[in-house]
Symmetry: C2
Subunit: 312 residues, 2 copies
Amino acid sequence: MTAASAAQDYAARLLAGDRLALARVISKFENRDRDSGEILRNIFRNTGKAHVWGITGPPGAGKSTLVDQMVRVLRTRGLKVAVVAIDPSSPFTGGAILGDRIRMQDHTSDAGVFIRSLGTRGKQGGLSHATLETVLALDAAAFDVILVETAGVGQTELEVLGLAQQVVVVLVPESGDSVQMMKAGLLEIADLFVVNKSDRPDADRLVHHLDGVLDLTPSVRRRPDILKSQATVGAGVKEVVDHLIHLADQNLEERQRRSREFLKREVLHILIERLSSSVHQAFETSSGMDLLAQLEARQVDPISAADLLSGN
Amino acid sequence: MTAASAAQDYAARLLAGDRLALARVISKFENRDRDSGEILRNIFRNTGKAHVWGITGPPGAGKSTLVDQMVRVLRTRGLKVAVVAIDPSSPFTGGAILGDRIRMQDHTSDAGVFIRSLGTRGKQGGLSHATLETVLALDAAAFDVILVETAGVGQTELEVLGLAQQVVVVLVPESGDSVQMMKAGLLEIADLFVVNKSDRPDADRLVHHLDGVLDLTPSVRRRPDILKSQATVGAGVKEVVDHLIHLADQNLEERQRRSREFLKREVLHILIERLSSSVHQAFETSSGMDLLAQLEARQVDPISAADLLSGN
């Protein structure tokens, strides 16, 4: 079988609902395999239908429990659901997500549920590229809802979350200094705040505090809503799902804007990947090694080296 | 003043030791200001002399205290020291590094010490690009040692740490499951493990355990050493500094390899930044908007769109 026909075969099996082919395709995307591009080309036509929801929040907020319960609610409605857990970053905290996934094993016998973790990739932008393409693969495999769960909101995670059609930020009463929680990009990306563990004493206080912060926050976008849940007993989860579906129906314009951003970003990732590989190759040639020696000797500066490499 | 002469002026003041100019240049690099390139061109000749050491470890390991004490030791030897604290990522944990920095205020009246935090940038690769150029600015400003401190080892942090000439991983006896700690890229980037808070009961056990893990880990590089410290009282810090200076002298080949990687990466960042900006512009043109509409309608796939944009 030629490489192109192997890629077509993977794509055809994925589109026919073969879970093993889906898993292999995602691995190929994650590893930036040589036939990734050809597979993507063959499945892209079948994408663009899924709802993509991002879920983030601090460690211990109960994200995975909430996601687990959202999967149950969506399944009772006959929707196919995929969960992509982004293991963001750290060897120091890397255990948590894998551990949480064990609970999700309840769903393993259910062909309407697919769960996948993606880890840190060494390459520039590798994880967010792999996440985008994993979402495309799941979309093509006819999953109705794709939940992208991240444990943090670093650069990669913000990038990925910004491309979800809806973003849920899960907090708990004891999340700590809520001014800190509002830092950085969180307010800009949240479409919905969920105060989980709502049986805890300070839950209502956090809701009021969030309300106050949102009142003071000028935003060009729709003001994020705040819901309460107690995911361990399934309380409030149906409302979260309903709200997200409602938002998707209401904000068609915003949804389209994010889909376009998603597609632009995917094209940019492909071009960056090509650029990186051609630059690495260029530095392996004898003129590239000369250029590197001149950089080391400070005879050429990096801007001029970039000009030279790009033929300017 | 023209833009080019303003850039030359900043560069000249930075090279003359003006701390305000240095701070402004770093901000320009961080914000990717238009004259960043021209400034870099003007200071690059004066780079390549500093020692660049990366420091990482889990939250609570005492990294900042150790860094603080390392600064003291280096200052007693008359060396100029800069600290770049990478606030990696998270609005949820973002408070820690800023809080830790307060302790460093002891050094604020010392012209031989410069401390700077860099935060998450929205753009693709923005933080690691800003970090590389900040290191170049500090190097040009004649700091002898540049300590790059990160709180995690996500994609960005691993990339940045991989370009330091030496990497110190700080652990504490209670760091938890040490097999987890050894995950991902940590073992590959560590040149030195420091078991901090060595007065705690399990410190020696962690040292032995680390030893065992390193015995079992095949590596093409030099086996990382393990030292103990109790940074709160300054114990073991001098040994850490001596060891890093010794390593720098011993491993000239490895140091040169990393300097070359650093320079390649900087050139690649410049090219990626140009590419990103030209792709964003291309999508604003009418043919770009047509292409985006065709992508949305699934009439063109992202690979073909990338081909079209790059003129293939």
